[in-house]
């Protein structure tokens, strides 16, 4: 693909400088990516623990291990942590920061200092929202969506949590702004837009959604804070405001946010599949256009969260139609990935297994989403476990699995080390089985009528809840095994060649881990991305 930087450099890796200050004051995009990875994996494990406790509570009928108020706080914090601290920054904060500049042949992002600022905003947002657990009068119990008027009435510490999310949103905007500018200004010579790899393309679409949608969340959360502190009245029906306006504003951000979560995941899958099928991606242009299409249409579907909230029938039908439309570009991507496998030389390494599982689970998640876009069915399944199952299939089965796929795929490049492949596969199998046992049961429970966010359940749902809880144990065992395997891999002394998988994008031309400046000589691009022919895999 590149002509200038064929051989890996002998420059010292970007880990060379030691000391805590060299990390906390770094403007190196790779180090910032690693900082994000460390903090986000921590938040993920905490959020996972909250989830495990919730499943334990549902193991028996009646009180099991906690009080109802604790359960309310748990589902709120599980949602806030997983959504705002894990899947929204997600792949773009970790792998975007680390690989975007390398993949487009740049030495860093356009605004390295802003990049560090965005990590600090993220961390302070996380600290503020987590401190709502211990300060004020108890952790928030509103659910992650902070719906008014309850979020205005509850005595729990909603203001603090909302302020934390506001800061995280600011961090997300700065990252988006940075990435857009980076891709416009810093692509290396010869890398025109249609030669850019698909992960950067997905980040580009994501960044526009981050920049255009997040301010709406900002103002909405700001208003919630002002309402709680000064009783402004914009959302408060007792003063004259309209709670439905809150829902509109909230979902105007929070539905596009779903695409902030899933688009970079799709981008990573578009990198992994060609590498392990050892052939060029099928339908490059279609994938690029569908990324932009998802970003555009996905910004216009928010009110499908509100079919039962009270809207005009015309609005409901329009939003239902738009919801069906957004499935088209998503399906185009799925078909392209599957078509890439056709006649490829498929190698089932752990990243590829996660990627294939992504396609399977995301398809289930996407199709169950269409059920909810259909108006008649929506009324039946609204606010049931079906919804919970659906978005866990999309967010966890989709983004989560893609995150793990990307982590296993880029791990040798990021750390210059290798995890145990066998353990990785065992962990994958456990996660996959546990995941489906847990969330497919949720889909069934939801169709039977189990409402979401309830502390307790009726006897007829009992069997389902037991299966789901068992599934959660298997999945958590797999996740822990995966994390242990990845951490242990860091201490295994091995040298990793520049290109262990036989990938053809630019990050595989620099040494593992990459040198501080990424490239000695900036590469010059003369071919489309994913040109496989001349590449030979190096012996490990």
């Amino acid at each position: 693909m590149s002509t200038a930087a064929e051989s890996p450099t002998s420059e010292p890796s970007f880990y060379e400088r030691k000391g805590i200050a060299s990390w906390l004051l770094t403007t190196d995009h790779k180090r910032i990516g690693i900082l994000y990875l460390g903090s986000m994996m921590t938040f993920f494990l905490v959020g996972m623990t909250f989830g495990v406790f919730m499943r334990l509570e549902q193991l028996t009928m009646g009180p099991t291990i906690m009080k109802p108020t604790t359960y309310n706080a748990l589902f709120t914090l599980h949602g806030v942590m997983m959504i705002f601290l894990f899947v929204i920054p997600g792949l773009s904060a970790v792998f975007g920061n680390f690989f975007l500049p390398i993949m487009i042949g740049a030495k860093d992002v356009a605004f390295p200092r802003l990049n560090l600022l965005s990590w600090y905003l993220f961390m302070s947002g996380a600290a503020v929202s987590l401190s709502s657990l211990f300060t004020g009068s108890g952790p928030p119990d509103t659910g992650w969506s902070f719906y008014v008027p309850y979020s205005l009435r509850t005595r729990t510490n909603v203001t603090m949590a909302v302020f934390g999310v506001f800061l995280i949103g600011f961090s997300s905007i700065i990252t988006g702004l940075n990435f857009i500018t980076t891709m416009h200004r810093l692509r290396t010579k010869g890398m025109n837009w249609m030669r850019m790899p698909l992960f950067p393309w997905a980040l580009y679409a994501t960044a526009w959604v981050q920049v255009l949608a997040t301010p709406i969340l900002g103002i909405t959360l700001l208003l919630v804070m002002l309402e709680r502190l000064f009783h402004l009245g914009i959302f408060d029906p007792s003063i004259g405001g309209d709670p439905i306006l809150y829902q509109h504003l909230f979902w105007t951000y929070s539905h596009p946010a779903v695409y902030i979560m899933i688009l970079p995941a799709m981008g990573a899958i578009s990198e992994i599949i060609p590498t392990f099928a050892h052939r060029t991606i099928f339908g490059y242009k279609a994938i690029v256009l569908s990324s932009m299409g998802i970003a555009a249409i996905g910004s216009l579907v928010w009110a499908h969260h509100m079919f039962t909230s009270g809207m005009s029938e015309v609005a409901i039908v329009v939003f239902s139609l738009l919801t069906f439309l957004v499935a088209i570009p998503s399906a185009i991507k799925v078909f392209n990935w599957v078509a890439t496998l056709y006649k490829g030389s498929v190698e089932l390494r752990s990243p590829m297994l996660f990627a294939l599982a992504f396609i399977f689970l995301f398809s289930i998640g996407g199709l169950t989403g269409l059920f909810q876009g259909a108006l008649a069915i929506n009324v039946h399944i609204h606010d049931t476990y079906f919804i919970v199952g659906h978005f866990h299939y999309v967010m966890f089965g989709g983004t989560g699995f893609a995150f793990f796929a990307a982590l296993h795929y880029w791990y040798p490049k990021m750390f210059g080390r290798m995890y145990s492949e066998r353990t990785a596969i065992v962990a994958f199998v456990l996660i996959f089985i546990g995941f489906n046992l847990l969330y497919f049961t949720f889909l069934v429970l939801g169709l039977q009528g189990m409402p979401r966010r309830y502390y307790d359940h009726l006897p007829r749902f009992h069997t389902g809840h037991i299966w789901a809880t068992i599934g959660s144990w298997i999945m958590v065992a797999g996740l822990l095994l995966m994390v242990i395997n990845l951490v242990r891999g860091l201490f295994r002394k091995t040298t990793i060649p520049a290109n262990p998988w036989g990938g053809v994008t630019l990050e595989w031309t620099v040494s593992s881990p990459p040198p501080t400046e990424n490239f000695d000589v900036l590469p010059v691009i003369s071919e489309p991305a994913y040109t496989f022919n001349p590449v030979t895999k190096e012996p490990a």
């Binding site: 500018t181 255009l212 709406i216």
Partner: protein, 214 residues
């Protein structure tokens, strides 16, 4: 303005080897930020539009209580400050450092004057018992409560932006004094200018929506 005596420095190239400087990139980033600010206020404008269409009469009535004179004076202040901001940028491009600092200081003073005016306006309202959640306001129809809720919310957020602008400008003043902003490296000042015009433009919309709705 008369034609500049010397040609304005066009997109200056970085003169220090190894230092990455990208004017177009910095401006692009700032423009994107300006858009996010517009969307931030956009949420409030949507709320305003919706409630005004629901309570047109109440909004009309409540708007009459605002001090139009102060509103117009503040508009003139902000418009003038945008002019001095531009003059400051032109001056530094012409290598007139002192002049540039003078105009920037004028901009800051005008921004501060705007805030002082706003303070007295708010104080008078609060003195009359008109503030969110007050008993006096709660006794009035919902539309008027919403009008004043939006008034305090939107002018408050705008005032916060003016304050941030003045603080940023004071930093720029120091940069100018220390030659960190020069005739061939003034993107920081130019981006500050972009931000300041944004603050100005938002006020241009706030004035008719609140003061002229009567």
């Amino acid at each position: 303005m008369s034609a500049p005596a010397e040609p304005l420095a066009a997109e200056p190239a970085g003169e220090h080897v190894g230092e990455h400087r990208d004017y177009a990139g910095a401006k692009l980033g700032m423009w994107i930020f300006v858009f996010t600010e517009l969307i931030l206020f956009g949420g409030l404008f949507v709320a305003y539009g919706m409630y005004r269409s629901m309570h047109a009469h109440d909004f009309h009535k409540a708007s009459g209580e605002l001090n139009l004179t102060l509103g117009v004076i503040n508009t003139l202040i902000l418009l003038t400050s945008s002019l001095t901001m531009v003059l400051s940028i032109v001056a530094i491009r012409l290598q007139r450092k002192v002049q540039s600092m003078f105009f920037l200081a004028c901009t800051m003073l005008l921004g501060a004057a705007f805030l002082v005016n706003k303070f007295f306006e708010w104080k008078a309202k609060i003195h009359h018992g008109i503030y969110p959640g007050s008993e006096h306001l709660m006794a009035r129809p919902p539309g008027e409560r919403l009008f004043f809720g939006l008034y305090f919310g939107m002018t408050g957020l705008h005032g916060l932006h003016v304050t941030v602008g003045v603080v940023v400008m004071s930093v720029m003043l120091v940069f100018l004094a220390r030659d960190k902003i020069r005739h061939n490296d003034f993107i920081k000042l130019e981006n500050t200018g972009l931000y300041w015009h944004l603050v100005d433009v938002i006020w241009i919309f706030l004035l008719p929506l609140f003061y002229l709705a009567a």
